[in-house]
Symmetry: C2
Subunit: 151 residues, 2 copies
């Protein structure tokens, strides 16, 4: 048996085990925090937070947000609708392609997101205290690798 092939297989297996014991609890915890921070202070559901976050990050349409979240367009359409009604988002028809609705944060939406991010950042920062620069750099590199795995 080829040693390199075998050990590569073992590492893949190891990554999978670590993945299951790390990512779901990590995500669950962040999710729980967002629910507490965003929901209570700003009356934002986690879903609404995610939609606003992605639009803030440059996604400009229902389809783009849906693709990024890996959920269906109707789900995003509904979330967007609520956010427009709450004055956090605008939906304007594109002149060149009138099927396309351009999504954008309002001033109020931007302010809300800044505030939520600030609170979340402070919380996450406190979790990172006590870790060495080396460890954190390593985490950054790992995230790059993981991101490449998403195509």
């Amino acid at each position: 048996m080829t040693p390199s092939l075998t050990s590569t297989k073992d590492i893949a297996e190891e990554v999978l085990d670590r993945f299951w014991e790390t990512v779901p609890p990590l995500w669950g915890q962040v999710r729980g925090h967002i629910r507490a921070a965003a929901a209570e202070k700003f009356r934002l559901s986690e879903e609404q937070f995610q939609v606003l976050r992605l639009i803030r990050a440059g996604k400009g349409s229902v389809s783009q947000v849906a693709a990024a979240r890996h959920i269906t367009r109707p789900a995003i359409s509904q979330a967007v609708d609520a956010l427009v009604q709450r004055g956090l988002l605008t939906r304007t028809q594109d002149e060149d392609d009138r099927r396309h609705m351009q999504l954008a944060l309002t001033d109020s939406g931007r302010e809300t997101m800044d505030a939520v991010f600030k609170a979340t950042r402070a919380w996450m920062r406190s979790r990172m205290a006590g870790f060495s620069e080396r460890e954190l750099e390593n985490v950054i590199r790992a995230m790059e690798t993981l991101r490449k795995m998403l195509e």
Copy 2:
């Protein structure tokens, strides 16, 4: 200003940015895959998959699963109920502390989970193809760090 302090701050900031652009899409994609694989083949919702996964990983009570998922006990209680009715889980009263209900997979539950995991593993493994041993080892180390951040 202390250089090490400044650069530590910058790294924390960097980790946060990477986190937001990596973890939610990663999790969303895995989630989407679970929905497709577990739901269609085995009629398991994502929530049910998560509950079974945690019990398989050693969580033995509604409270433990709820804590691990960062959601409320009633939510887990209901999910467990459905799984018991479907014959994937057993709920037996603990003799020493009769408030406590011991949760355990049935043979059918174990088989189902093995099958779902096998399918998911194959899918994830295909995503990891093309990455070097070094990169994957780095991911493992990073997951350890992240796990420590969860206490």
